[in-house]
């Protein structure tokens, strides 16, 4: 601080907010994403890899291990593209560094198939869970490249970390844009949530589903298709409800 600086300059030398900031879990998440990106894309950078891939990484403590396979995985795995390759084989070839488990398949338009997967990777004592979607074009017979790319918003959870524990989400969703439709793909950690609803700013329901797949931990996975083209996710709220329709959770978005 120079002699010409105002006295209050000194108060700005510290951090703007108290408490958790650049947390260990955040650092681990960066490691996870960096190494995943490098393994998948080499020097091209993960920002450009993976046509139509958006992930939400959730770092959970090793106490959660081992993570059981999804119910119905066997049935989904048997699905094949026109050349006879299984989707699982193709996804594994695309993301060899992670443990990939297909959760949903969804036809999108006349030409495209979207494969929703959860992926696991262990980095530095954390287990990363990523939710992602990849679109495959039947016509071109290759993974599509989207017109735009969305960075994955990451959520970091570390069981036993009191700071993170304060902000443990009960439900996390990622918005995935494909043409002609976009999707919300999410996971719920609250076993009571059995219905997902998306409402607009006037609290009108614009999408809803009870089609939820649960794994053996009670985690529930779901997708919601958004028919509106050009939808960018703004102004909408995702709600988690129980079987009777009572609202258990709603979103905090930024």
């Amino acid at each position: 601080m120079s002699s010409t600086d105002p006295a209050w300059y000194e108060a700005l030398r510290g951090d703007p907010v108290q408490g958790a900031a650049f947390r260990p879990a955040l650092k681990a998440s960066i490691h996870f994403r960096a190494l995943a990106g490098r393994r998948n894309s080499g020097l091209r950078g993960w920002a450009t890899y993976g046509a139509a891939t958006v992930g939400v990484a959730i770092l959970i403590g090793l106490a959660r291990l081992p993570f059981e396979q999804l119910h119905e995985r066997k049935a989904v795995q048997s699905a094949r593209d026109q050349s006879g390759r299984t989707w699982q084989t193709m996804i594994d070839a695309r993301y060899p560094a992670s443990q990939n488990e297909i959760v949903f398949e969804q036809t999108n338009g006349t030409d495209s198939k979207v494969i929703f997967t959860r992926r696991f990777m262990d980095i530095n004592g954390y287990r990363g869970l990523s939710l992602a979607g990849d679109a495959f074009s039947r016509e071109s017979r290759q993974w599509e490249h989207t017109s735009g790319y969305a960075f994955a918003p990451d959520y970091t959870l570390k069981i036993g970390d009191p700071i993170s524990a304060q902000a443990v989400p009960q439900l996390t969703a990622v918005w995935l844009e494909f043409k002609p439709r976009s999707f919300y793909f999410g996971v719920s950690f609250d076993p009571r949530i059995s219905r997902i609803r998306i409402v607009d700013e006037q609290n009108r329901a614009v999408a809803e589903t009870t089609a939820i797949k649960r794994d053996s931990d009670g985690y529930a996975y779901w997708i919601l298709a958004m028919a509106k083209t050009g939808f960018h996710g703004s102004g909408l709220t995702v709600q988690g409800l129980d079987a009777s329709g009572s609202l258990l959770a709603t979103n905090v978005s930024s």
Partner: protein, 181 residues
């Protein structure tokens, strides 16, 4: 950390990434927070900053310090996050938050979150004033370095800094008078 070697490498390994995060993680996060005024967004920005640095280290040629380079990336990504609704994230909490609370959160949030009164007022400044003041006061960058980060002429940095200081001094004085009354 010794930064000299960074301008010669074309690919970063996990150890270097760890060193960078250890040395500059908090700086990056705090700058991201001061621009976005959101913890969640600062988390996202910080991740993207280090991912970009990890993948684009070859573009660092030592024209500025590593810290200035990272702050420049932070600023670019923060502005992108603020400008676009393309990235959508949804975080469902186990407590239902009334919509009104979400809308009125900003002022209360800034006051509660800020480390001290000065930071509280800085966070209420316009972005134009806030970024130049934070870079000068907190990060102690020189005027040429600030001009580089903000991609504006040094003369503009100087005039913005003058305006920001004047504005903040006024705000702090008003705050003091308010408390006295």
């Amino acid at each position: 950390m010794s930064e000299e070697y960074l301008k010669y490498i074309v690919e970063m390994d996990a150890r270097i990434l760890e060193d960078l995060m250890e040395s500059y993680g908090q700086d990056v996060w705090s700058f991201a927070y001061s621009l976005t005024r959101s913890r969640a967004m600062a988390d996202d920005v910080a991740q993207d900053v280090f991912l970009r640095a990890y993948l684009k280290i070859a573009s660092f040629r030592g024209a500025s310090s590593v810290r200035t380079w990272l702050l420049k990336i932070t600023r670019n990504i923060s502005l992108n996050y603020r400008k676009t609704a393309f990235v959508r994230k949804v975080l469902l909490m186990d407590v239902v938050t009334p919509r009104q609370q979400q809308h009125s959160a900003e002022h209360a949030f800034l006051e509660q979150e800020a480390t001290n009164e000065v930071w509280g007022q800085v966070l209420r400044l316009s972005t134009k004033y806030r970024e130049v003041l934070v870079l000068h006061a907190k990060y102690q960058l020189s005027l040429p370095e600030i001009a580089d980060v903000l991609k504006i002429p040094q003369g503009t940095v100087k005039s913005r800094l003058f305006g920001a200081r004047k504005k903040l001094s006024l705000m702090l004085t008003e705050e003091m008078l308010y408390e006295l009354n």
